[in-house]
Symmetry: C2
Subunit: 408 residues, 2 copies
């Protein structure tokens, strides 16, 4: 088998962990596999480098930040190669230039455009274990780029797709994907399987296991993805197109605390108002998540939406500055809210899910502020201090009680 | 003017020093110069990385060591670019891949083969200050190489040669080349000019200002080289083909304490013995410096030579193991010796130099153990604890008393 294995920063944080991971890698190689490994920077390296840069220039260009930060992964791969050499196996480390991970030019948040795999294949044919820098690429000017948050996951999946790997294993500090964060819901349990779509909804809903872009890519190229523990040799969770097990109505519950609500009150009930409002947000690169529009008094309406907490202040400022242009009476905002979501591929074909969902919240005495639904998820906005109770109520109702598709 | 400036690790050791160097660079740029800067890794970065590697694998391959160590310079150049950005100037950092510093494949001690300067010239045309990683290159497999000790000096001179720079400034923690180490000879004074050949002899004799290879390269391509202080805005020392000032007989006195003497006693007086002996040393990559051969008793002779102290033990072991093959009676060795040398372009045409040199040592009551001469230098081996006195005596005689070529 050709296997791509990805290890995050905490898995390679010090010499001891690097040696432990080296043994995991060698074990797989000794079983007769061809092994490609993708690594992040060691532990806090990236944060330390960011701090170093801030001391010199708090407004450093992204181009130079990428030049700086990409050294972290290069150190990881070299050290890992040394650890594998020490175990007596042939190995080579490669950076983005060397294994030709070609990306867009958006420094700090580039996307992989292509990978020329000749060198990697050549090294595998020479019986080398190949260790590759995650998180980075280079653009057509040969400038170093980085792929943004969770970029190493994306590197691993892209390499697996391009190499036609049989398996892409994402090693993390948890042993798989859970039905909910075990720190929030104590009955949370590990899933054996989950679909790409469910994983996508969970990832974007604040379940920090896999980065969205990597799951999108895995779905697109049908990469056989596994999330598993870097510390224990347990089975992990398989992420795939269709799961074989009977579809659970809800496969995961996620809580996202990085949410703030903004309500624009007394907007004129004319065409184009929502467009004006959200194009202003888009211009400033402020991501808007949930949106609801309600009928207000007279010929006005209210528009509410959510943004991340860090962007609330700027969003409000922009709205205030454009009060005339948009035309509204007032703004209210609140960053003491959280989003609780339930995700399940089985939802799509089961009309009763919503009512069970709201029943659970009602039974727990939780007031819902906003609602948003998609084919396979329901999200609600609740008071921050009710978020965990809401998650527990939903998890208990759907997962612990084991409501399956078709039972409703 | 097109100027290449090189700053060593101590000049960029922390944020404060980086900012100071950034100002030095910008000052030169504001004077209308096109400026290319070559940097080493920050302060102790390289040593820290070596330590990190040793913890994981004390026998790591040189290929992976290069992959690891080259990150140090990449961090320096990115941080420096940020510091220059903060001052409001346009700047770009480039690593060896990006500015195509193509080298041999000898990891840990590669030599620059060629530099394709298109990118650098392009960036200069765009009015950028260009900051380049010293000490590194890449080979034809696109693997990262490092250039060995003093490699950043070599990078700077090679870039200056290839770019046809008007000037190559090597910034150090001293303010120029001295007639002797001021810690040894208190009358030592800074030279305004020195020839490439004199600099070469001084560099190889333990005056740690410029690395030999960089001076060879400067001589080969006639690069206008200046050694100056990174802390103070003083003139420095110009290194060039011919100095304009009246030739001093002796321009510099150097002391090298990293010397051990080995004497092979009672060697058969037959052809090929010296060859056998020194080819054994060469096979083990042990560098031999001074060599003398004396007539012994009967039909035997003694051969003495010097090696670095770190290699003495191994050299003796090799000799012992080959006692039969070489054919000798015994070995003696001593690592409590030092080499004291006087260098001066004026020596070549002045026959009286040697006698003045030995007169100085005789007056100071210093016993000479070995002698070696070249066109422009005289080296003697003395007891370690007499080395500084010897240097002072020679310095006083030739330099402080100002004996010039032709006066003798």
């Amino acid at each position: 088998m050709l296997i791509v294995k990805k290890f995050g920063g905490s898995s390679v944080a010090n010499a001891e962990r690097i040696k432990h991971v080296a043994e995991t890698i060698v074990k797989s190689y000794r079983e007769g596999n061809r092994v490609v490994v993708v690594l992040s920077a060691q532990g806090d390296t990236t944060d330390e480098l960011i701090e170093k840069a801030a001391e010199i220039n708090p407004h450093a260009s992204k181009r130079e930040m990428d030049m700086l930060l990409s050294t972290g992964e290069q150190q990881s791969v070299a050290l890992m190669a040394m650890a594998i050499e020490a175990l007596g196996y042939t190995v080579i480390s490669l950076n983005a230039f060397q294994c030709k991970i070609y990306s867009t030019s958006t420094h700090g948040n580039a996307r992989i455009k292509d990978i020329s795999t000749e060198r990697i294949i050549n090294e595998l044919e020479r019986k080398n274990i190949v260790i590759i820098t995650g998180f980075q690429g280079y653009n057509r000017r040969l400038d170093v780029t980085t792929l943004g948050r969770g970029g190493s996951d994306t590197s691993a999946v892209a390499l697996a797709a391009k190499l036609g790997a049989d398996l892409c294993e994402i090693y993390t500090d948890v042993d798989g994907v859970y039905t909910c964060d075990p720190r929030i819901v104590k009955n949370a349990r590990k899933l054996d399987e989950i679909t790409y779509d469910e994983m996508l909804e969970l990832a974007s809903l604040g379940a920090k296991v896999l980065h969205n872009r990597s799951v999108e890519l895995a779905k697109k190229y049908n990469v056989n993805l596994v999330v598993r523990s870097s510390m224990h040799d347990t089975e992990g969770t398989v992420v795939k197109e269709e799961t074989k097990v009977e579809k659970m109505l809800v496969n995961g519950v996620a809580v996202d605390n990085d949410v703030a609500r903004i309500s624009v009150i007394g907007v004129k009930d004319k065409p184009g108002v929502a467009f004006k409002l959200f194009s202003l947000m888009a211009q400033k690169k402020i991501s808007v998540d949930l949106i609801i529009q309600s009928i207000g008094r007279n010929d006005t309406k209210d528009i509410s939406f959510t943004v991340t907490r860090g962007e609330m202040e700027e969003a409000v400022k922009i709205l205030d500055a454009n009060k005339e242009r948009i035309g509204f009476e007032s703004i209210s905002y609140n960053d003491k809210v959280a989003k609780v979501s339930a995700v399940g591929a089985g939802m799509a074909t089961n009309p009763g899910v919503a009512s069970t969902f709201f029943e659970a919240l009602y039974d727990a005495g939780i007031n819902v502020k906003m609602i948003s639904t998609s084919e396979i998820k329901i999200s609600v906005l609740v008071d921050e201090n009710k978020a965990n109770a809401a998650a527990e109520a939903i998890h208990d109702k759907f997962i612990s009680e084991g409501i399956q598709a078709g039972n409703n």
